[in-house]
């Protein structure tokens, strides 16, 4: 355990400020995690983030923390709008990478083996996944459509018939980030993203279908229309090459303009929020966020079509529960020294977790708190949680289990073995374009999500509502 950490509250530890740190670090973790995991590298990044001008409160790290780019993955930092900075590394290359959970009015165990296989095949062949798999459209996206998509967010896809208006209410920020500007986005980003809307991507992105295995909070689950045994759909994807390029463009720009001078880590480069560079980045970042909202909206639409074809379900019977962002910058109002204050909250591998009463939420979630989606791994579980609105973390929680092992370690561990057969022995059917992808994403690559959930609950950031068990997985 790092000698510098000081117990603060249950599940929360302080990293006292030293050197150039303007605020303390706040680490969300269980004691066992601190004893058993190698955390020095992400903690160094927590210290570095704490040096950024205008940071308010704490430099925060979630229990799924690991080494990132400037910010640790699992990092949260809020900035004063007037004096603070905006950091592309604090939002990530995959802008608005996020997760959405939909529920299907079918008991999963009622799907026989043939139906499950047909469903997975249909999804695999109708939704592009893996490297270079953009969407083959009958018509290319026109410039006008592309511009509207980037400004309107997920509403664009709904208006085009790929979803229902209720989907927008069940999406964080109604599926749109304000302030997007097409002109702020480079030609290269537009070219990269043009054919990629409605595709999963590669790496750790996925579509997962499974069963609500266990209901932990029955009252909440009932309010949300969640039942044990129900079929769920979980989608993990982001802004694809569009977002990657936006991040890269602004990292290049900020570094070349000297904004990285005097920073402990070049990847932490940031521009004042109110500078022209900061505003340009916000405008492009919002466009990328809206690209990602459309991406997940369209992917869900195609999964709905697959269920319609294979299981003869009405499209509208498959209900989106919620969609969350976990690589994002948001302008939010929080109490700072008792005063309602607008802050720019960076969440890099962290999820918003508003509690009951938050005005941004729809009436249902304003009563209960918002859903928080925590994907684990394809062999064990994912979690549906409810946000508790903890002000210490600016109403933020973790975003996943976090990797435990490197890709090269996993490839070596599974070399000569049969990962697909192993997953089948666990009852999980997996499809991907390469066996390499499957080996890199095997369950043992990830930390145990149950331990991460324990840490989040101990720190009172969010509370488990249901445990989800995957059975059909499409890996990017």
């Amino acid at each position: 355990m790092s000698n510098s950490l000081v117990p603060f509250k249950p599940g929360l530890y302080l990293l006292p400020p030293n050197g150039a740190m303007r605020v303390p670090g706040l680490i969300v973790a269980t004691q066992q995690q601190l004893l058993s995991e190698e955390l020095e590298k992400p903690l160094e990044q927590v210290r570095n983030v704490a040096t950024l001008p205008g940071i308010v409160g704490y430099s925060i790290a979630m229990p799924d923390m690991h080494w990132g780019y400037g910010f640790p993955i699992g990092g949260v930092a809020a900035m004063d709008l007037q004096t603070g900075v905006i950091s592309p590394g604090g939002i990530g290359y995959d802008i608005n990478c996020g997760v959405r959970l939909a529920v299907v009015p079918l008991a999963f165990q009622s799907l026989d083996a043939r139906t499950r296989k047909a469903l997975l095949n249909e999804i695999f062949h109708s939704i592009p996944s893996g490297t270079g798999q953009g969407h083959k459209r009958e018509k290319t996206l026109s410039d006008a459509d592309y511009k509207e998509l980037l400004i309107q967010g997920a509403a664009w896809s709904v208006h085009k018939g790929m979803g229902v208006p209720q989907d927008l209410e069940q999406t964080e920020s109604n599926g749109v980030l304000a302030g997007a500007d097409f002109a702020a986005v480079s030609q290269e980003a537009r070219l990269r993203g043009r054919s990629q809307v409605g595709s999963i991507g590669s790496g750790n992105h996925f579509i997962e279908i499974g069963e609500i295995q266990k209901v932990v909070e029955p009252t909440l689950a009932a309010a949300w229309g969640i039942e044990k045994g129900q079929t769920y759909i979980l989608i993990h994807s982001g802004s694809r090459g569009f977002g990657h390029q936006v991040c890269q463009d602004f990292l290049n720009d900020f570094i070349q303009k000297g904004f990285a001078k005097n920073l402990p880590d070049r990847q932490l480069v940031a521009a004042p929020i109110m500078s022209s560079e900061g505003k340009q980045y916000w405008a492009a970042m919002a466009a990328a966020a809206n690209f990602a909202f459309n991406n997940r909206q369209q992917i869900l639409h195609f999964v709905r079509l697959a269920f319609q074809k294979v299981c003869r379900l009405e499209l509208t019977s498959i209900r989106l529960l919620y969609d969350v962002c976990h690589n994002i910058g948001k302008i939010e109002t929080h109490l700072v020294e008792g005063k309602a204050t607008k802050l720019l909250v960076h969440r890099k591998g962290a999820t918003r977790a508003y509690g009951p009463g938050s005005p941004e939420l729809t009436p249902l979630f304003r009563t209960t708190g918002q859903p928080v989606l925590v994907p684990g791994d394809m062999g064990r579980a994912s979690y549906l949680m409810v946000g508790l609105g903890n002000p210490l973390t600016w109403c933020s929680a973790c975003h996943g289990a976090g990797r435990a092992h490197s890709r090269i370690h996993c490839l070596q561990a599974w070399k000569g073995k049969r990962p697909l057969e192993h997953m089948a022995s666990l009852g999980v059917q997996v499809m991907a374009h390469t066996t390499r992808t499957i080996a890199e994403e095997m369950p043992d690559a990830y930390k145990d999500v149950d331990r991460v959930i324990e840490a989040v609950e101990e720190a009172r950031l969010a509370q488990a509502v249901a445990r989800l068990r995957p059975y059909l997985v499409l890996k990017g």
């Binding site: 490297t131 270079g132 570094i255 990847q267």
Partner: protein, 256 residues
Amino acid sequence: MTLKRLFFGMEMQAPWPSEWPEGRRIQEPHLTLAFLGAREPSDVEKVVRPPFHVAPCGWFDRLLALPEAHPRVIAWHASWWERSLPDFALLLTNWLRERALFSEKRPWLSHVTLCRSPFLIHQWQKAFEILPCYAGSFNLYESLGNSLYKPLWTHPLLPPFEEIPHTADLAFRIRAESLPQLYIHALTALAFYDPALLLHRLENPALESLEEIIILLNKILSVTDREQGSPFKAVSFHGSIQHLGPLLEWEMIIDV
């Protein structure tokens, strides 16, 4: 006297395909620099060695069926990023000629033989795709017949890159003897994962800093993602160049 059929060559490293067209495959692909015929190994003990420390990088850019008139072997032609290896091939053959150990008059053809007949040329032509490579070590080989070769001695070279563990993403230790070479070796490391990057390579760029290298690598990555798709999101701005004697080292981390 123990005469052996000897030749000098470089052991070749590449992300070889997992499946090949039909043919009698050469199991240990190598780049022949000079074939000596039947010689005493002691005749060449003091041979000139490569003046470079890090394995040179290149790429296979076309198929060769040799000899052209009646092909008996399939080979891949290797192009090299820098002159160091072709210059060494010339240095070596001159050294050997001066000692009457080598008499080949034809210019050196940079190629790696992959299989011997029988084969179907059109199958090999269809299967060919650009592929990165590097010449891993300088060896004196004995040709044993039946496409079998045995290194008698090896002059090792440092690998231009090595993959290192990184929990969330991909990481490589890149080694080079100059800044432009750092770019070459970094791109080769990436191309071992995604050969399509080579289609958009930039040769002889003017580079003065690590930032410029990273920006250029990301430009190549962007174009590749746009045209063919790429598994990489971006090369991060992590790290700095470490100077270790005559060598430069950089820990390159790529978001995937």
